[in-house]
Symmetry: C2
Subunit: 540 residues, 2 copies
């Protein structure tokens, strides 16, 4: 009945009646979690759930910490007399609460009462649980399509429901800059919108003629970060450099190689335009990172580093001159130099660099976390070099990839990545020693939004595949897809209650299709060969 | 500082410090309101705000009822020692809470803390307030474009913020049927989506090739209704008959005049296709209304009745035969007969019929409420006939009308309806006796969504014009636009905190434009003449 599957669940005799007399009793360190539980249960059940110590033998839901447990581990015990939720830290208690909610009807996930029930039976049960990995994440690309703040808060709740603890925000790209930077306001004045968007994935796809834009104010970010923190989710910001930067160059042409005016990109795909590597550009991005680090208190600061073409640098005399001055042998060394300067700024501020696996082509500062996206080659290489790893192999967790071979799959892109495929996800590559394997912090689903132009579309691509990935990250390495599907069948009504427009097992609903919009489907073998060729430089 | 403008506001000396010691004390009948206030303030301030009677001289926010006040009237008294919020009923206390929130920084409207402030000063003040009208509403057309449930709940919160108390949902139309009906499942299986949508307002506008759809399950509706009720908002459902019914006919061709298969409409504008008037069709809609009345407990059930062309009936021998059998002189009489049968079903169930002003062309049951949309002619006629009236004159409160003469206004439709225009809205037509004028229950903004294909776009069209309409409905008949604008300038940061993408005073943001999409702007005089000609049959 629980999803993700817990370490152990023992059904017991009896039932606890969650009713008008039930008291919510929060031990030291669990008051905020109790308030959160109350904020979910009170509107949906109408029960008062007073937050106080029980008087005598009042039925109670009791929250407590047990320092003997790992922080995110929990025990959930439902007995006829009461419910106890114990975690190693507040996060563990929070996950115990999420488990408790899954013992209740799906309607508890609604925001008001849909029936007149006055008490809810909770089956007696004993759950012992702890996550397999400490990094259980989702990356959302808000650059290709902006997601309004309130929709993003909703997504945070959906991550928490699946006991994910990391939200990586891809805040900047060629097609949009989504974060207010006080010192450089044109980044959003100019870079937060584009004139239109490419429709579909074909190379010759037409534009849709419709402007798209939006950005988060600094207060919006503070709210998102704090809201996520209350749900034990760390937000990891990413400012992608030195490629994927056309929106910034549109705002400040002096950041580009040619200095020529340009516009925020309206086309998908890897873009030849890159940042120049002048000291002034490094200084500009240090300003940006200072504001980023002020807004995002978490340990990790993403610098991107992926997909940086070198043609512009190679053809630019000034860049070649800079390379000579700096004693750099080639453009790869220049890219490493540039990200290295910013990485030093991040580490100098006591934070850790988070970057795509391309950064393995050069030296990286100690403490860097490598996001292995082109399969698990980067994970293997990084782990062997003693770097921490987050696995997000494209062919296992890229949720923009088509969900099936179904002919109605909207804008079919890349290789099929079915629910069963995502369920098989294992972040740990083969062939590592135990010490190396311990470098794998976990994994995350990546949601690139070129073809997701609304939160409704994001729902379609993300669910239920994220449920499978969440289980792959939380539960043990063994897999039982039939069992997962049984529990998913009980889980989908929760998503229904939350209004999540997930993909049906039978394919897209009629209004989830995109007839006539060309995708770019790929064959598995060809795709694997392509990825294989790309990672040659980082294969140890 | 308050918006809508209160009846009286007297600034006093001193300040109440809302801080960690503040207690929330709820008198009889105000517990749920206190919990709602706490659910807003606790996440945004981090203050514990324990809900309990103050011990001794603890600083408290005290909520209470005073039966001497009208239900929605309230007193808000902020003193150094404490805050008291008194209402005639829970709704009045709720509006006092909304007023109190407007004395606090805009950040209290966020869902998590954005600063580390530990106490908030509230200026001492004495407010006496009551609404001018009892029907302060917004109609949302969820048929032309579906609004997902969570977005609709957000809109409910935005209505409550403006002390509106009625949400009229236009649930069915040619382009979509949005409500699950258990007895007739094809209404949503077939009628809840269309193959594409007309892009823009021109008669020859192209289709966009993109399917659109969605519907509310019955539990979704229960949730929406209950959520709204907790915010003192009544949801008025509308099932539009006998015109605007192509989605239903697509689902069940036997409801149509020709019986020919058709599809949910992909074009805007008045549609020649109407329901037939067979007894079986009446019975079908009685089934529908039975489920509607089960889901919507409010007093009003909308039957539409607008824009019903008669060509199909006139050309159909079977319909002509039915007219003869029923002794009906013409197609107008047939329409009245049909809506009359359903109206009798509604009144027989103890509810009141709510219909567009076209229903004045025939007899209507006692208790009917007339929505006067083609100017105020329907309001005048209905009031004189002793019927209750809700005023929603198109040229004052139709929020799909263009907001200015600005060349970048997206898909410019009909006549300009600026913020100043909406602020002048008065629901009471000239020339009524006081008894007749008392028939005007109030008014509502109407949001037709042909050109609003996402909640973001709805934000743009609705705000800040709805702020002006809310004041026109709440505050006294006198108007002071300069004063309103001053208070609006303090109000917009609240909308910013809530992530509302309102129209800027200077025009649309670049990404709020729709370049190249033709609208159908009209000239004021021609428009007035058109409306004038349409209402000839209901002018007494």
């Amino acid at each position: 009945m629980l999803l993700p599957r817990p370490h152990s669940l023992t059904p017991l005799d009896g039932t606890f009646l969650l009713g008008p007399d039930t008291v919510l009793s929060a031990g030291p360190g669990t008051v905020d979690t109790a308030e959160w539980l109350r904020s979910v249960l009170r509107p949906s059940t109408g029960l008062p759930l007073p937050p106080r110590a029980p008087a005598g033998d009042e039925p109670a839901i009791t929250l407590a910490l047990d320092p003997a447990l790992a922080a995110e581990a929990y025990r959930l015990d439902v007995r006829t007399e009461g419910v106890t939720l114990v975690g190693g830290a507040a996060s563990g208690v929070f996950y115990a609460c999420q488990a408790l909610l899954q013992l209740l009807p799906p309607a508890v996930h609604r925001r008001a009462r849909v029936d007149a029930v006055t008490s809810l039976p909770v089956p007696a049960v004993s759950v012992r649980d702890a996550p397999r990995f400490g990094w259980r994440g989702l990356m959302l690309d808000v650059a290709r399509h902006f997601m309004p703040k309130h929709d993003l808060l909703r997504l945070v709740d959906l991550l928490a429901l699946h006991r994910l603890n990391t939200l990586h925000l891809h805040l900047t790209d060629d097609q949009g800059w989504r974060l207010e930077i006080r010192r450089h306001p044109r980044l959003t004045e100019v870079g937060a919108w584009r004139a239109e968007s490419q429709r579909g994935a074909a190379v010759d796809a037409p534009g849709d003629g419709r402007p798209h834009g939006g950005f988060y104010t600094q207060d919006d970010i503070r709210e998102i970060v704090a809201y996520a923190a209350e749900r034990h989710i760390t937000v990891v910001p990413e400012i992608d450099v030195p490629g994927h930067s056309q929106a910034a160059i549109a705002a400040y042409p002096e950041l580009g190689v040619t200095g020529a005016p340009t516009a925020t990109s309206t086309r998908w795909g890897v873009n030849p335009r890159v940042l120049n590597t002048e000291d002034s550009t490094v200084a500009f991005y240090r300003d940006v990172l200072d504001e980023v680090m002020e807004l995002f208190p978490g340990p990790y600061i993403g610098l991107g580093g992926d997909e940086c073409p070198t043609t512009q640098w190679r053809e630019d005399p000034r860049t070649q001159e800079l390379m000579r001055q700096r004693g750099l042998a080639d453009e790869t060394a220049l890219r490493t130099w540039f990200t290295g300067r910013l990485a030093a700024h991040v580490t100098g501020a006591g934070r850790r660099v988070f970057g795509w696996d391309e950064i393995l082509e050069g030296p990286v500062p100690e403490g860097t976390v490598v996001a292995s996206w082109r399969g698990l080659t980067g994970a293997r290489t990084a782990a062997r070099r003693g770097l921490d790893v987050v696995s997000c192999p494209d062919d296992q967790v890229y949720l923009d990839y088509r969900q099936s071979e179904h002919p109605d799959e909207p804008i079919p892109f890349a290789v099929p990545l079915t629910l069963a495929d995502t369920y098989r996800f294992d972040p740990v590559p083969d062939g590592l020693t135990p010490v190396e394997a311990a470098r794998v912090l976990g994994g995350q689903a990546n949601v690139w939004t070129e073809h997701m132009d609304s939160p409704r579309t994001v729902d379609y691509y993300v669910f239920p595949r994220l449920c499978a990935i969440a289980e792959a990250l939380w539960s043990g390495a063994e897999r039982d897809f039939a069992d997962f599907r049984r529990r998913l069948a009980e889980h989908l009504p929760r998503l229904d209650a939350l209004g999540v427009e997930y993909r049906r097992d039978t394919g897209p609903l009629p209004w989830q299709t995109r007839p006539g919009i060309a995708g770019r489907p790929a064959d598995r073998q060809e795709w694997a060969a392509l990825i294989d060729s790309l990672v040659a430089p980082i294969r140890d």
